[in-house]
Symmetry: C2
Subunit: 132 residues, 2 copies
Amino acid sequence: MSESSAAVRNTRQRSAVSALLGEMEGFHSAQDLHAMLRQRGERVGLTTVYRTLQGLADAGEIDVMRPPGGEHLYRRCSEGHHHHLVCRVCGRTVEVAGPAVESWADRVAAQHGYADVSHTLEIFGTCPTCPR
Amino acid sequence: MSESSAAVRNTRQRSAVSALLGEMEGFHSAQDLHAMLRQRGERVGLTTVYRTLQGLADAGEIDVMRPPGGEHLYRRCSEGHHHHLVCRVCGRTVEVAGPAVESWADRVAAQHGYADVSHTLEIFGTCPTCPR
DNA sequence: TGCGTTTTTGACAATCATTATCGTTGCCAC
DNA sequence: GTGGCAACGATAATGATTGTCAAAAACGCA
Ligand SMILES: [Zn+2]
Ligand SMILES: [Zn+2]
Ligand SMILES: [Zn+2]
Ligand SMILES: [Zn+2]
């Protein structure tokens, strides 16, 4: 018994949020995305934006970043495990993969007897187009 | 002229917070530390605990961790740049150094033209004493 | 196409860590 | 000593995120 339906329904709001994420370049907050939707004339509640983003994040369809002292930022990324190189001025983001880092983290954790290992890694800097 | 005094005054409250951090083993939140101080009979305001922790963090004397969906956690660490391997059950923390990771991050950033590079890295797992 | 069931929505209230206020306290250089 | 100025702290404010719950909308099925 039990699992009968994934029961994920197709709604106008969910599509709107997902579509918007498809067009956005960098990371954006829930509040930002909500404001953009409103300007487009899309009628979507803030609560729904939060819920949708959370769902997409849980499903691994979008990435979440928690910058120091700010709101959560969301972005549609390419598939597979990767990390972000972010401009701390304009937010321009580059996806970077580092197999060596991945294995290093797992190895270090194993050496100390830690199991079920995961990690977070973000690189910050000022991008070429943001002199000064 | 200019720099005359660091102007950092010695106060009973600052000493209390700093001393407490010296005895604590893992990471603790501002609210936790404040509660501990009160139980000891130390009379320190919550605002002051926040301010002191922030100051110590800015001065690089303590490390801050921002676990997903929780408060900021503080801990007195050894000197020098390092990262943390944290048990997501009990909080037991091991400091780890990874020169290879440091250079990798800098190299990747440089390749993309990013300057003034910094990074954040945390490894999570369940420690040996937290079976299951 | 109409219906019932179940999910989703969204306006609004609630949470809660952190920050801002601002009058009082007390450190410390002189 | 004492005056100036940093630090304190009770309290209010902030603000992102989450909880609530009645109403709206999907969708499987007839
Ligand atoms: Zn930039
Ligand atoms: Zn990784
Ligand atoms: Zn543990
Ligand atoms: Zn590092």
